[in-house]
Symmetry: C2
Subunit: 392 residues, 2 copies
């Protein structure tokens, strides 16, 4: 096994919040009455509030070393845009972010925190790019999507020799950067003599899931532990459990290279669930690959069950989770309640990949009883899958 | 010197985020070009996002031991209400919060996070109490104030044998609880062989200031170090630097015991500066006392200079500060720039008592150029001081 050293300049920034805590959720265990031991690795201690800076900082650093002056990107929920704004700011680079219009309007504070770190923000679709203009011509009130915003950010970077595009998930190098989560968790578990029996992590593009589970999968394949590893996705956007495994574009306009992955079709626009960070049509090729090999399991959970778990967690453990990791918490609660039935004292490991400080509008919807579950949109997916590229 | 042991039940909760990090602000030092060494103790890692849980948790715990079922309180910016909602939730108690109307309307997300932890919220002044009704009769659109909200929370607790009122600052026991900040900082500084030359901390009611500086003052009085200790308050609400040192009420209605402190008058309603947590007419009696003895210095700073420092800090250190500690940061920057002139390499210590995730509207005002400095309201204070209670 070989490692790539983390550059000193990246470590200097990571010092601010890494290593992140691995916490045993004793009060949640007690409230559930489960004999299971639940551990969560908490990534919300980063200044941007999620695991995303784990890849934003090295991406900014390696680009800077190559002489790049500016990074462009997209953001949906705002976690990734915030992370890249934070990273480029600390490394004295420029940052230009296309934020999905629906999120740009609904979450003005996400916009402001990115601007606080000096980033330039645009709602997407925007009139600044050919792909944005094409979408606006068809639908001037388009709420946007991650796929559209990627097209715009890629287009601008491609035309500017001093700029590069940075992606916050899906790709191999992103998942590599995120394995710091799982590597730290393994060291922390070893310190207290624990080995996980079940590992659950939410997955949108796959970086949080891959980051936590790949190092654990390595240990499993080496015969050192034998946990079940389970990906959890939203019922309304279930690329792993319902998507097709084939070549597709990473963006709406088809500007990216083709990627072999589980996809709901690059033209699929997911319904506006609260976990904006999981609203992506595709899945990391590495995660897709190991799912096809049967090395991991996958399930999907509707959002109300996720927020049930979020409230139970906040009221016992104290931390208010972002909507994305509530999927992992709901899966952990399911497993813990199963242990209660069987009497098994399993060790459950999960990743709490961000806090919900910028997602309180979602909690308000839940607490007021207005939150609805969104069904799997079978017809929309079927229509989008018709537009898959033909690969010969 | 004698210590009071922290109960195990309180430690169990503190474990989630304590000890908090002491960080050297190397990137800020470099940006300022100062030979000074700047350290900040960061309290924003608590789930409620500030230093307030340091006293909320022990207050809830000791009340619970005495059989109290419910705590009532007021909140302005929302930091204290959030902290008490968090603490009571984890200790299975009820919590009822009167939030200053202006803040209740302007910061809906603060309300939601308190509700997420199970607290009951009311805007203040409210029709639920005699003091609230009296204020509403005079002014049905009153924006409220901390003093008014205290009156309401005290009134409700006084009438309910199962309830007690909890205050988040000012009083001796609160400052005692907060000394965990300074005690930890001393241990952390000793580890790296540092002794502070200058300690700056923001002060509203005095709990953050007392928490950081009292243990350091003890060391100074024992001759073990010799730092200048400086309180920093907002120019628009300068109780230490402009207030009268005399007996006054802690609340607007005059329900609390009389307290000897620096006060701008219990009827003084501070202008709506962004640092809502510093909008209080009085000052902790212990802080007032040592200021009168000449053991500490005090200055006041207008809010635009504070946000200048906040942006400089966020863009170098990465953390976005709450508006309250931006006062301490501005004072630290002043001191660091003085060192640049004199060439002195002083050790500057400050407390970053909370993050600004719920204060992005203030950053938006600053970044858009709309933020105004508010002058010291001399006439309003003179009028309020006429209503001081007569003590014989």
């Amino acid at each position: 096994m070989s490692y790539i050293d983390i550059p000193d300049e990246v470590r200097e920034v990571f010092k601010l919040w890494r290593p992140t805590p691995l916490v045993r959720a004793r009060r949640l265990e007690k409230a559930l009455g489960t004999p299971a031991r639940i551990y969560y690795k908490y990534e919300g201690t980063s200044p941007a509030g999620s695991h995303k800076p784990n890849t934003a900082v090295p991406q900014a650093y390696f680009n800077k070393v190559e002489g790049v002056k500016k990074l462009t990107t997209e953001t949906g929920a705002g976690q990734w845009g915030s992370a890249l704004a934070f990273a480029t700011c600390l490394l004295d680079m420029e940052c230009e972010v296309w934020q999905v219009r629906a999120s740009y309007d609904a979450k003005p504070y996400r916009k402001t925190i990115m601007q606080t770190w000096g980033a330039t923000l645009h709602p997407s679709p925007s009139p600044l790019t050919a792909s944005g203009r094409a979408i606006l011509e068809k639908d001037p009130t388009s709420p946007g999507s991650l796929g559209m915003a990627i097209s715009e950010a890629v287009e601008v970077a491609a035309a500017d020799p001093n700029a590069r595009y940075a992606l916050g998930s899906v790709l191999n190098h992103v998942l590599l950067h995120q394995t710091i989560i799982g590597e730290e968790a393994l060291l922390q578990l070893a310190k207290i003599g624990e080995k996980p029996d079940v590992v659950v992590a939410c997955t949108g593009g796959g970086s949080n899931f891959g980051g936590l589970t790949f190092p654990i999968l390595r240990e499993k394949m080496a015969g050192k532990m034998n946990p079940v590893i389970r990906a959890v996705e939203p019922a309304a956007c279930p690329s792993l459990t319902k998507g097709k495994y084939c070549y597709d574009y990473g963006d709406t306009a088809g500007l990216t290279p083709l990627v072999k992955m589980h996809t709901l079709g690059h033209n699929f626009v997911p319904d506006p669930i609260h976990a904006g960070g999981l609203r992506y049509h595709g899945m990391a090729p590495l995660v897709s690959h190991i799912y096809e090999l049967g090395l991991i399991e996958a399930i999907s959970i509707p959002q109300k069950e996720c927020f049930d778990a979020a409230i139970a967690f906040a009221r016992t453990e104290g931390i208010v989770p972002a909507p994305e990791p509530t999927h992992a918490l709901a899966a952990a609660v399911r497993e813990a309640l199963l242990c209660k039935e069987t009497g098994e004292s399993k060790c459950i490991l999960t990743a709490l990949c961000g806090h919900g400080h910028f997602d309180m509008a979602s909690y308000e919807k839940y607490l007021s009883g207005e939150m609805q579950d969104l069904e799997y949109p079978e017809e929309k997916v079927a229509a989008a899958l018709k537009d898959l590229p033909v690969v010969e």
